[in-house]
């Protein structure tokens, strides 16, 4: 028994010492990613990490020449605010980390970025669309995607252009889902679409009782503000219960898993549409090489936001390199990197030319309306783009 304890203690001691020897190496610069790597949203989350990883591998040349070693530090936020904040605390505590690419969910990014803000650590987001992300005016927070106040309105305008007169609005009660649903509702009411109901739900499996009043109200469109893991099940069950109208959702719906879950039911009736801030990687002129490299390395088509994550990491690398040179080829301070990100002008990313405004939004962001055209998850990236819009953020 005593021997046993001794061995356990010895192993524990070795495990404790091991990371210390690794950390002792100098001149390492790390870029952290935070996205859901496990659980239901891991398909998109993992590709956010993979996109950033590809950028670090391909674009860290200038920093390597300056004598630094660049590493990616992936964190799994599980799409959960608590986990995101806990990760944020350990990210902030690691002095080698100079930038964060991340968060898939606005509900996770908003509390986590409070930690980044307190530590002066720059965060570049590929996917967080809630207005509050940048409206707090933190210099550390930037995003290279659109905003929900615009996206929700774009969804409502599209519905109106299709002749829709009545809608039932649902959301997932997260900062992201509820936010976009409210913007959708506001614009829809303005355009004369009758909103027959507005409701939040955390249900993931049994939508029977939620659907009863919806089917009774007979809306032409069911709008869902939230993630595909709820909406695709809801849409499938609504269709099976005899709903013939249109389904409309947001960029949270944009995952090939939506087709896997929803299947053929998404295509029937008036079909399924979603607004998004990130078109399939193939719509951006600069992404051909990225898609090829991504496929070669990870063996699959990139999920939505992978190309954006690549650009976020590219921006971070460029800003760090600029700041390092300004600091006399030393590891720059976090505040300098933060300033260097905003200072970038006309940065040529693979998803377009990137300029940040004073809040950290893009000066002009792209919005898409996409129609689901195939029940085959492998063909998700070939879904039909119905509309592309370039809109500046509201001031």
């Amino acid at each position: 028994m005593r021997k046993c304890i001794l061995i356990v203690v010895a192993v524990f001691a070795v495990l404790c010492v091991l990371p210390m020897t690794v950390a002792a190496q100098d001149q390492v610069i790390k870029i952290a990613t935070q996205s859901p790597l496990s659980g239901g949203m891991s398909a998109v989350g993992t590709d956010i990490k993979n996109g950033a990883q590809l950028a670090v591998e391909q674009l860290s040349g200038p920093l390597v020449k300056l004598g630094f070693k660049v590493e990616l530090a992936p964190f799994d936020d599980q799409g959960n605010p608590d986990t995101g904040v806990a990760n944020a605390k350990s990210i902030v505590a690691d002095p080698a980390i100079l930038a964060i690419v991340g968060h898939y969910n606005s509900g996770v990014q908003i509390p986590s970025s409070e930690e980044y803000h307190a530590a002066g650590l720059v965060n570049i987001s590929p996917a967080n669309t809630n207005p509050k992300v940048t409206d707090r005016g933190y210099t550390e927070v930037n995003r290279i995607c659109g905003r929900d106040d615009v996206q929700g309105a774009v969804g409502a305008q599209y519905a109106a252009s299709k002749g829709v007169k009545s809608a039932y609005v649902l959301h997932d009660k997260t900062a992201y889902g509820q936010g976009i649903a409210e913007y959708y509702q506001r614009e829809a009411t303005k355009l004369g679409i009758k909103v027959l109901g507005f409701e939040g739900t955390e249900e993931k499996a049994n939508f029977d009782s939620i659907l009863t009043p919806i089917l009774a109200a007979k809306p032409q469109v069911i709008y869902f503000g939230g993630m595909f893991d709820q909406s695709s099940v809801l849409f499938k069950q609504a269709r099976q219960k005899g709903f013939k109208g249109m389904f409309l959702s947001d960029d949270g719906f944009d995952s090939s898993d939506a087709a896997k879950i929803g299947g053929d039911d998404l295509l029937q009736g008036s079909g399924t549409y979603y607004s998004t801030v990130s078109g399939p990687a193939s719509v951006y002129p600069g992404t051909a090489k990225f898609v090829a490299d991504f496929k070669a390395k990870f063996g699959a088509e990139p999920q939505p936001f992978a190309a954006q994550a690549y650009d976020c990491a590219a921006i971070a690398l460029k800003a760090i390199a600029n700041a390092a040179i300004a600091a006399g080829n030393k590891i720059p301070a976090r505040a300098d990197v933060t300033a260097a990100v905003r200072a970038l002008k006309n940065f040529k990313g693979i998803t377009g030319t990137i300029n940040f405004n004073a809040k950290g939004d893009l000066t002009v962001a792209k919005y898409f309306i996409i129609q689901v055209t195939s029940a085959d998850p492998d063909k998700w990236s070939t879904n039909k783009i119905d509309k592309t819009l370039d809109i500046a953020p509201p001031q």
Binding site: G40, G197, E199, G200, E203, I210, T212, P213, G242, I261
Partner: protein
């Protein structure tokens, strides 16, 4: 000496069927009546005006028009809860502790059955199967689910509960919670290693998604069509069949008699020559198999499963078991049906009656609130607890 079995067999089959019918009609009737009264009271309220404005019908017509659909959903859900609740109640009957790992046994049943169906689908067998064939495959999948879940339940009992059988009652309870967490992550691990997926979707096959129109109710200028999905009928039918079978095993067979005697007094049962360990194992097998079958039926009805799928139905079924009187098989059935109805009613009407102030996401709160109020006035459940006499 053996008694003639014919009469008793018939009795043990008809009695539970009769009880189910009474429970369904009774609970449905009571809830419907309450709802109609509530609707009558709400005439002229804001909710009434809103409905007239948006859909052109008053609140009473609205309530009546949606009633059949709500009842159908409630009964389907109720039988699923009842099938799971029986697993909790049987284990409580013999061991007097709550087997919190039962929700994961349910999940394992769901995964085993769905993986089996996915494999059959990949081989092209489901597409080729005719209408009879699809029911055969569903039955096969149910057998797979029941075997897997029953086997795991027995394994859990052997490894996690039997060594703790004579410890204070809290100890196996904590062990059960531990097993529950462990199993969740085992499912996750196995799924990520083998398929790399978090969600599994039951393949579409046979005519289970078809809808049978029953009748339509005129509402204002429109009409509400009431129909029932084939899979709802399958879920109810399968659950009823299994509940009758279970009731028969427990009440009309030798081994059932042994289970009941172990539940009454373990030591005396042992003195009478009953292999207590084997009987407890068998109880877990029965409860587990039922839970596993419920898992597959749940997957059939709600189409998608993930490793945490068992948690909510598990908690609800546990509530149902307590509501009906834990340890009491008939009670679990009644509790399940009442809870299913309650949830269905609250979910469908709450949002409309409160004009969206309390949406249908409050359905669980309503269900649990009723439980709390009920337990205050009748702590041993609707039909009373049935536990060992020595306790």
């Amino acid at each position: 000496m053996r008694r003639p079995l014919g009469m008793q067999t018939l009795r043990e089959i008809l009695l539970p069927l009769g009880r189910m019918a009474v429970f369904v009609v009774g609970a449905g009737g009571v809830f419907s009546a309450l709802m109609v009264v509530l609707a009558l009271l709400c005439r002229g309220s804001g909710a009434d005006k809103f409905l007239l404005d948006t859909q052109g019908i008053n609140i009473v017509t609205y309530t009546l028009a949606n009633l059949p659909q709500v009842l159908i959903d409630g009964v389907t859900l109720g039988f699923v809860y009842a099938a799971i609740a029986l697993g909790y109640t049987m284990v409580y009957g013999v061991l007097e502790f709550i087997n919190f790992a039962h929700s994961e046994i349910f999940a394992i049943g769901a995964f085993a059955g769905v993986e089996f169906l996915i494999a059959m689908d990949r081989l092209g067998l489901l597409k080729a199967a005719g209408p009879m064939g699809s029911y055969m495959y569903l039955t096969l999948a149910l057998v797979v689910s029941m075997t897997a879940a029953g086997g795991i339940a027995m394994l859990i009992e052997r490894t996690a509960y039997r060594p703790l059988r004579d410890s204070p009652r809290l100890v196996p309870l904590i062990s059960a919670i531990g097993v529950s967490f462990a199993l969740q992550d085992v499912i996750r691990l196995v799924e990520s290693l083998t398929t790399g997926q978090f969600y599994r979707v039951i393949p579409t096959f046979g005519n289970f998604d078809a809808r049978i129109p029953l009748f339509s109710i005129p509402t204002g200028q429109d009409s509400t069509l009431v129909d029932i999905q084939v899979k709802s009928i399958v879920v109810i039918g399968a659950a009823v069949l299994m509940l009758v079978l279970l009731n028969f095993i427990v009440n009309a067979t030798r081994i059932g008699k042994a289970i009941r005697s172990v539940a009454q007094d373990r030591n005396t049962a042992a003195l009478m020559g009953i292999g207590v360990n084997a009987i407890i194992s068998f109880t877990f097998l029965l409860g587990g198999a039922l839970g596993g079958a419920a898992g597959l039926l749940y997957a059939l009805k709600f189409t998608r499963i993930d490793p945490f799928v068992g948690f909510m139905p598990g908690i609800k079924a546990f509530t149902a078991a307590v509501l009906g009187g834990i340890g009491n098989l008939t009670g679990a059935l009644l509790g399940g049906i009442i809870l299913g109805m309650l949830e269905s009613f609250a979910g469908a009407y709450l949002g409309t009656f409160t004009m969206g102030a309390f949406g249908s996401e409050y359905k669980d709160i309503i269900a649990f609130l009723v439980l709390i109020v009920f337990i205050i006035f009748r702590p041993s459940g609707l039909l009373g607890e049935q536990v060992s006499q020595k306790a």
